[in-house]
Structures are given as C-alpha cells and as structure tokens.
Amino acid sequence: MFKKVLIANRGEIALRINRACHELGVATVAIFSDADRLSLHVRHADEAFCVGPGPVMRSYLNIPNIISAALISGCDAVHPGYGFLAENARFAEIAKDHGLTFIGPSPAVIGAMGDKATAKRLMAEAGVPTTPGSGIVANADEARAVCQKIGYPVLLKATAGGGGKGMRAVTAPEELATAFATAQAEAEASFKDGRMYVEKLILNPRHIEVQVLADEHGGVVHLGERDCSVQKPSHQKLIEEAPAPELDPAVRERLHDVATTAARAVGYTNAGTLEFLVAGDDVYFMEMNTRIQVEHPVTELIYGVDLVKEQIRVAAGEHLGFTQDDLQAHGHSIEVRVNAEDPNNNFAPAAGTLSTVVFPGGPGIRVDTHVYGGAIVPPFYDSMLAKIIAVGRTRESAILRMERALSETHIEGVNTTVGFCRELLAEPEFRAGGIGVGWLPAYLARRAAAV
C-alpha cells in the first residue's frame, strides 16, 4: 500500500479521496489555489501546498507545480479525482516518469478513450454496440445513401464540430440536401474544415452508465448501472439514481455484460464508467470515463463498496477484494446535486459567501460536500457545492427520504438547485421512472411558458 498520496483536486472529491486514504492508513497531501486557502480539503489533509493563483490553468492544471508538490512531500501516488487532470494522459505519463503511481488506468487507455473516434472504433471491435453512422461523406448524395441504410432521423455532424456548430438533425430525405449544404458551410466558416459524417439520431434516449472496476491481475467486475437521464439542456447531470428504474431485465443484463467485456477488451484497470444511450431495447455506447465519477455514491450505497478505496487498493497492485458473485445490490439510491446556480436563469453559476449552510442528516442520508457556513464560493470553479445522496429499500422510499432531506437543507448567500430539485422529485413523470434525457429540457420549456 502507498505511504502518502497527493490529491490533485479540490472540493468535495478532494475530501472524499482524503477520507478513503485516511481509512486505509495512508497519509495525504492536498493542493490548493490562492482562492481555496480556507477550503476544507486543505484543513483535512495531512499536508497542503499552494500550487498557483485562482484560475485553473495556473493552479489545478499546473502540472509542474503539482508533480513538484508530490515529490517534495515524498508522495508515492497521485489521485486525480474527476475533472481537472483526471483524464489527461500526459499528466498520467509525467507522474509515472517521476516515479509516482497514477491512481487510474494506464496513460494509453486514458488516451484511447479520450479520443471519441478511437474509443468508438475500439468498442465496436470489442463487439460493443455503437451508434450507427458513416465515415466522411463527400456530398449530400453520399450522405443520402448512408441515411437510407441507417434510417432517419439522422444527425449530420462536422468532424471538427463543437458547440452545436456544423450539426443538423434531418428527419426526412427531402430535408437532406439543404441541411447538408448549410451544415457544411457553417463548419467551413467556423472551423475551416468542411468534412462531414452521418450518425443516427437517437430521439430522447435514456442515459444509463455502467460502473466497472478492474485490477491488474485480470479481475474485472461491474457494479451495476446508474440512470443519469435528468440532465440540464447543457447535458450536465442533475439527479442520478441506481439502479435504473423501469429497465427491462434483459437490457440491464446486456449492459452489464457489454461493459465488462469492453473493459477486458481494452485492458482496463481501476475504476471506470461506460456511458450508454438506451432507447427501448436498443443500447448504444457513447463514451467511457476513465476516472471516478461525481455520482459514484449511488453505486456505493446499494453495493456497500467503497469505490475510491478500491481505486487506491487496485492502483497499489492489490487484487479486487471480491468477485462478481460477491456483489449484490440492495435497495435504491438517488443523488441530487446542490449547485450554486440559478435554475430560473439558465442555471447561471453564482459566486459569493455562504452565510448559512445547513445540511440534512438522519437515516439513509449521505452528504458529500466541502462547504460550510461562511465559506467563500470562488468564481473560478465548478458550481457544485454538495451532493445529497439518499438510500432506501425501494425507489419510492429513497425519493421520500430525499424530499425530507432537501426540506432540511438551507443554504443562503447564493442561489442553489435545492428547491428546483424538490420540484422535479414531485413530478409524476419523474416519479413513474424511465424518463429520457429530453425530459428536463422539455419540463424547463413548459415551466418558462407558464410563468
């Protein structure tokens, strides 16, 4: 086991990693920016180094200062958390070059999964279903031929695209020529690259992801799925749950099988998540996240497994402490993200001082947070203040518990998503379970129209 781990992150995940290390008897080193000097993760760690000013490029993404802090303090491993450098293959490589174990998969796997085209190809080779589509299509006629094969609706996408530019949805053949011309012109204007491809458009799919865990000795297990379909129009997740409600058992089993097969095929080690779009009985691989995820607690609460501790143990070369047969899920868990943002104003992020902070407690409630009364929310970082996680014997009991927990939560000083999430939990469609990713944007549109 490691002696000392540098936690290359901030906020609640830095605290989460610190807790896992301390329970394993491993010392910790925190890093922080000028803006986070008074943050809780700095106080909880055994040592702490300021690595730069507030802006992330100069602090939490400052690879030389972070590696230097690890070396100076005598660390033997680095845990990247999520975000920041977690999926940066170069950082993993540099850490390795300096004799530090990167707590995550190999740099090669991080790099392969980080490139969408490579990831899709590798997954397809491993027999994982991916969204039907084409390679580069030269013109509208070539695109039409592909569309006839995969069926409408489709998405025309620019290979260089981003932020919705150079992208058009096409629902019928007669729209194709115009859509192709405008999308291509937009791509040429925006990216100086007019290369286009076609992908099947999955309408209002569910976002369901599978947690996998693999050691360096060939042990691979899955820890079931999470449903993260409640997403803001920006595709950021807001409410997650496990297991996925109203999911056909055959589809569930297929997702689990596909995930472990894929993890084996790419030589995956450590914790990872395969994200899928699910539409009816159809399942399409979207991407693989080669890190711990924000919503990992919902899995932990129903499986009784500490995923962060397992990450550390596996990275230290230990075997997984269990086989697939040992893993049994119990009950249902749901997570609500408490963000410093205004649901009535396109979720605009807020910064400031938190005058009041009261979190819930009691049976079946877990709160992962880094904030406290009087804490400052700097403008530089992610707006998430806390994750409230509820677990119950059934989905209904977990939701009731979450409603109770949110009613106990009081945060003043900035706008938060607490009240809005209570509203969502009460919605009959959410209550029924099985909603798609289009549900929340549609709900927001209805809500705005009603005001």
């Binding site: 008074l38 690595v51 200062n65 590696i67 230097s68």
Partner: protein
C-alpha cells in the same frame, strides 16, 4: 486578484510580517499591491486582516520599526537553492538581480529582486521546500 484572494493572501503574509518584525509591509504581486500594517498596541482595528497573526503581540511590545518592503514570493512549488555566497539580510542590491533559485522538477526557476534595494529579510533556507506565493525575501526600496 479578487477581494477574497487578497484577503487570504494577506492572511498568509501576516505571519511573515510578524516574524520579520515590521510595522508596515507592502507586497507587490503583478499589478496588485497589498499593504499590511501592524495593529496599534492596544486594540486592533476591527477587520484588520493581520490582527490574528501569531507572534504579533510579543513583537508589538518592542515597538517595531516602520518600514516598507516589497515581498519577493515564489512563483512555483519547489526547493529553494540559495546563491553562493547567499543573499543575506542587510545586503544592498544595486539593481535587478538574481536572489536565489527555486528548483522544480530539475528546472531552476530564477528568483529576481526586480530592482535595487536593501534586503530586509530572508525567509527561507537552502533546500527548503516552498509553495506558490510563499514569501522568500523582503526588499526595502
């Protein structure tokens, strides 16, 4: 720098101020200047950022000198490498010159005086690990 950052940075610098025994210390960081003043002997002004600094009471009893200095801080995380011979307290600097290095991953990052002055304080020793923003030298102009 935002106000929050200035406040937290000032709090960190207050320790160095007390240690060096100055009554007043001006700190330059890029375009921002922070000036720290030791609270009067009886009763610090409310909200004074350096009031809680350790050692402030003991030092105040000796009526410390009023001096103004620029703080030269580390821009990187690394190990301090002093020059040979090392810059010492009381030394006069004729112009912008190297004061020390901070070694990060084998790269020596020079620490410069950014102008002439008088070395009021040296806060670090050879081989000492330092973090970003950590005071290294106080230079009186």
């Amino acid at each position: 720098m935002t106000e929050d950052v200035i406040a937290t940075r000032a709090r960190a610098l207050a320790g160095a101020l007390a240690e060096a025994g100055f009554a007043r210390l001006r700190v330059r960081d890029g375009e921002t200047e922070i000036e720290l003043r030791r609270a009067p002997r009886n009763g610090a002004a409310p909200g004074s950022v350096f009031a809680p600094a350790a050692g402030a009471e003991a030092a105040a009893a000796e009526k410390p000198p009023e001096r103004v200095a620029d703080m030269v801080s580390s821009d990187v995380v690394g190990i301090v490498r002093l020059l040979r011979p090392a810059i010492t307290e009381g030394q006069d600097l004729e112009g912008d010159r190297e004061l020390a290095y901070v070694e990060t991953l084998g790269i020596r990052n020079p620490v410069r005086s950014r102008g002439a002055g008088h070395v009021l304080a040296v806060f670090v020793t050879e081989g000492q690990p330092v973090e970003y923003g950590q005071p290294l030298f106080a230079i009186e102009r």
